[in-house]
């Protein structure tokens, strides 16, 4: 029997307090539906795609599940205005946002009854989002795969939890029941995982990508892009090593660096190009060693967390 209880489950009408993070080029309608069917919240990544692609993916998800799912909107996308409209028209229940400040869409989404959950990397941004009416925030630490901030999950989550009154979801470096239980102890009401869901059976990322994540060890990721102000964590490979080398050379211009990175995630996720691809993934990859159906991942993570939380009193005398 499922015992984990969390305000996030009520807010989002889900069974397990676990979100599958938006992942550009990877998290599509099929993966999102599988996660939602399994009792978590699946999320489609709108990334830089246009309105018709997103609409297609939303309909794909709806055809596979009647459970709630979400869409992740990257605010820097050239199509942000369009996709912000699509989620309203398609009555998507939950929107998460990344790469910026979603306040200009907030009233439109709220009046459509959408739950809005911005990803934040600092206390101040969390406070600002609460002020603008966010229903919850995802506090994402720098252990995560993808674009990251400076603060790590362990210090960030309790500080955000102290600063806001809305539910906090922890992300970054969480890959099993221990991570989920720890996040709840830090003051979060649930977690978002990206890297663990990268290797879900229903995840359509290129098999080479999955293989690399499954093989990765604890120290196999590297952060690049700090010089351009968009730090990104991914696996060490020819591409990321070359980028890291180029990044701080005085003769490398910002434009050159920008151009070097363009399309690299697509090359990894769609083509499985080991040399030129950017295999974004988090530090928790070392713990992720098996491809499993999304539903099994959810069940395993939550059952493990339940057992740990029930046994937590062993640490307290009397």
């Amino acid at each position: 029997m499922n015992m984990l209880q969390s305000p996030i489950c009520e807010l989002l009408e889900i069974r397990y307090p676990v979100l599958q993070g938006g992942m550009a080029w990877i998290a599509d309608g099929k993966l999102a539906a599988a996660v939602s069917e399994g009792g978590g919240l699946g999320i489609i990544s709108a990334m830089n795609a246009n309105a018709s692609w997103l609409r297609e993916q939303i309909r794909e998800a709806k055809s596979r599940t009647s459970k709630p799912f979400g869409v992740n909107i990257m605010l820097m996308s050239p199509f942000a205005d369009d996709v912000a409209q699509v989620v309203v028209e398609e009555q998507v229940p939950v929107v998460t946002t990344g790469a910026g400040n979603p306040s200009k869409y907030m009233s439109m989404w709220k009046s459509a009854g959408i739950r809005v959950i911005p990803v934040v990397a600092s206390v101040a941004l969390a406070r600002m989002m609460e002020k603008h009416g966010a229903d919850a925030v995802i506090a994402e630490g720098g252990e995560s795969g993808g674009h990251i901030g400076e603060a790590a999950t362990m210090p960030l989550v309790p500080q955000v939890a102290d600063a806001v009154h809305i539910p906090v979801i922890a992300a970054g470096g969480i890959g099993d029941g221990r991570g989920l239980a720890a996040a709840l102890m830090l003051g979060a009401c649930g977690v978002q995982m990206g890297t663990r869901f990268l290797v879900a059976k229903e995840c359509g990322v290129h098999p080479v990508y999955k293989e690399k994540v499954l093989k990765a060890k604890d120290i196999d990721t590297i952060v690049t892009g700090r010089r351009l102000g968009h730090a990104c964590r991914g696996l060490k490979n020819a591409f990321s090593r070359e980028y890291a080398k180029k990044e701080w050379l005085p003769e490398t211009s910002m434009e050159e660096l920008e151009a070097f990175g363009v399309g690299s995630l697509r090359k990894a996720a769609v083509e499985g190009n080991e040399k030129e691809g950017s295999f974004l993934c988090g530090q928790i990859a070392g713990l992720v060693t098996r491809e499993q159906p999304a539903a099994e991942i959810l069940q395993q993570v939550c059952e493990e967390a339940e057992a740990l939380l029930k046994g937590a009193s062993q640490w307290v005398n009397g």
Binding site: N101, S122, M128
Partner: protein
């Protein structure tokens, strides 16, 4: 203290600058504040001035921020 002085104080403390080194025309880019820093400072200003500030893309200089503070 004028509003500008109060704002200057916040920014100088934030960036560990000597008071008097800023003008209304100083840009946040010159101050090397990234987007997270800017949000952080905006929230500090909200606390200091007791106002609600709407961040927008046109926010470039100290004078712009002062306008936003006074608009509320």
């Amino acid at each position: 203290m004028t509003d500008l002085e109060r704002l200057e104080k916040i920014i100088c403390e934030y960036k560990e600058l000597e008071p008097g080194t800023l003008t209304p025309e100083t840009t946040f880019q010159e101050l090397e504040l990234d987007s997270l820093d800017l949000v952080d400072m905006t929230m500090a200003c909200e606390d200091e001035f007791g106002v609600s500030i709407e961040l927008d893309d046109n926010l470039k200089t100290i004078a712009d921020l002062l306008d936003l503070i006074r608009k509320d």
